[in-house]
Symmetry: C2
DNA sequence: TTGAAAGCGCTAACAT
DNA sequence: ATGTTAGCGCTTTCAA
């Protein structure tokens, strides 16, 4: 047996012995260094194949100071939006030979900075997805997280690109759509209080209210998942609103289900809008009117930005802004007279 | 500034200098070794805090021979089933201080063993999710992947627990349900050819056919995603079947949508069943009859098994078998006369 | 072209 | 109780 190293696995030393060279030479061959004599290189390669030798990435990482891994921290892995971002990120990173380490904060904002720090130390860069932490906290830890890319959040820290979706515009478009259908009493079923994208939606609604003083817009507390919508039925009915802007598609779907259980007709009695246009939004009953966000692209773009930072190529890219697209389906209709 | 180490980050040596002790003592303090004098320990801790020192996990991993990270390789990160498994796994592992590295093979079976090997080398253990590779290949690489847990796949290699869903029984239950509604012409819209869970479904259908010679069961080629179902409309109509067993919920939803576009009534004209009971299955039009799989539990259980292997606690756990539960909704109804 | 040796940041056995 | 030293597995200077 050729198992010599302490870990019990085949190490570079085993190959060196088998090929009758120093481990430095094995390293050169494994890394495609052409200063090695072809014959010796062949011998080394043969030995490596025979022993099924694969370099230990941890040793490599320590020597090279890089891990070829990036981290992503998300508030909730159950959320299709974050799943899509993760997918886009993973796919793009894989094409450049990078792997992705995930960290789910389960919406516990106090855990985020710890998770982010831990993930970052194991990785070459980090994507922070819709962090719930305060601006102050974000600003404090951002420098120690560099290279860092932010999604749906901005910071004044230099060199941290932000990819943000213009939720404010999206929600305005949806509200305009409802107003255009004759709705004069709207209600916004809000998202997690610490969510920056929720704050952007609120800003958008303020702009809408300013432009449409004739429309009454109520604010309802909420969350980001299906249950939130389902549990909001009473609050929605009490509000007397005929057009409901749900925080996102999941909340809208929960609400839809809850209202159906009460025997209400959508959109006959009440119109509902979502946000995100997750793949399932078109298969609800009725299909969900929503604002479509090119979310997988966002994950890909996050990698592009992060890669540039890792390669120290850019310091000047502030990030990108994405415009949602109004997607009208059957969950919205004319207001009841 | 206290930045001495080559990487530019604060290292154990910086803390040692600041506290006026050796780096070994710093290591002891950081690892909670009580043989250190309380006063000195306090001094070290103060220095660590002041310098914002955090041990480098790569150095630690190399010294300890463990990474506190596990890997998971999935055939398709866009598939809600694998997302749910990932979520359950990540959540359970996080509670024990482990992180998860993901690898998406994008249904390219030839990539799987490479991805698995790479992931495994960076991690302390691996979860291989519904691998598409051949039995021979799986058996060949399984030993080098240990500690390894398999999901929806079995192998004869010893010490590799398998968590499998009894898709055969589930599909039988669904077929029985359709037969009970009077359907005598069924069609199975199959999954990816290399999918072991597809093979299990086929076995289940054989058992069903043996028990119900009066029922005709056609086999249709397919896949695992929404598009597969959508594109199968012609094949489904040509088959003349009135009861369609889709490979999973996604395929069923795609088919549902395609049939609606052709003006067919579900379940009036054709009954459809899915598989998995993903969260969205109840929000389609009509709600999808399906076989519910406790998928998040599966991810959790995968971690329990993997943890036992990592801790070398078990060699005798063969794994677990999960029974799907028939979930009757509105997408199935009496056969047309 | 190759080997010896240093070093990546850390832990742990050993010595004091 | 603490410091010195030897690894962990690898890459990379520096000599030869």
């Amino acid at each position: 047996m050729a198992r010599k190293s302490a870990t019990g696995r085949i190490g570079i030393a085993d190959v060196a012995v088998k090929a009758g060279v120093s481990h430095a030479t094995v390293s050169r061959v494994m890394n495609g260094n052409f200063t090695v004599d072809p014959d010796i290189a062949a011998r080394v390669r043969a030995a490596a194949v025979e022993l099924k030798y694969q370099p230990n990435p941890v040793g490599r990482s320590l020597a090279l100071g890089k891990t070829d891994t990036i981290g992503i921290v998300v508030p909730d892995l159950a959320n299709p939006t974050f799943q899509a971002i993760l997918r886009g990120l993973s796919r793009a990173a894989a094409q450049d030979g990078y792997r992705v380490l995930i960290a789910d904060s389960f919406e516990v904002s106090s855990e985020e900075s710890i998770l982010a720090g831990e993930a970052r130390r194991r990785c070459d860069g980090l994507v922070l997805c819709a962090p719930r932490m305060s601006d102050a906290e974000l600003e404090e830890i951002a420098p120690s997280l560099h290279p860092l890319v932010l999604i749906n959040r901005t910071t004044s820290t230099k060199g941290v690109p932000s990819l943000v979706v213009d939720y404010g515009q999206g929600v305005q478009d949806l509200a305009e759509h409802l107003a255009g259908l004759g709705h004069t009493r709207l209600a916004f079923l809000a998202g997690p209080p610490r969510s920056a994208s929720n704050a952007l939606r609120l800003e958008g609604l303020e702009a809408f209210k300013a432009a449409h003083p004739e429309v009454d817009v109520r604010m309802l507390e909420g969350g980001s998942d299906f249950d939130t919508g389902h549990e909001a039925v009473d609050a929605v009915l009490d509000s007397g609103a005929t057009g409901i802007l749900a925080f996102n598609d999941l909340v809208a779907m929960g609400l839809l289900s809850g209202l159906h259980e009460r025997g209400l007709d959508i959109p006959g009695d009440i119109s509902i809008t979502g946000f995100d246009d997750i793949p399932f939004a078109r298969y609800t009953t009725p299909g969900l009117t929503t604002a479509a966000v090119p979310i997988t692209e966002l994950g890909q773009e996050a990698w592009q930005q992060l890669r540039a930072l890792i390669r120290k190529e850019s310091t000047d890219t502030p990030g990108s802004r994405y415009q949602p697209r109004l997607e009208v389906r059957a969950s919205t209709g004319p207001a009841k007279k």
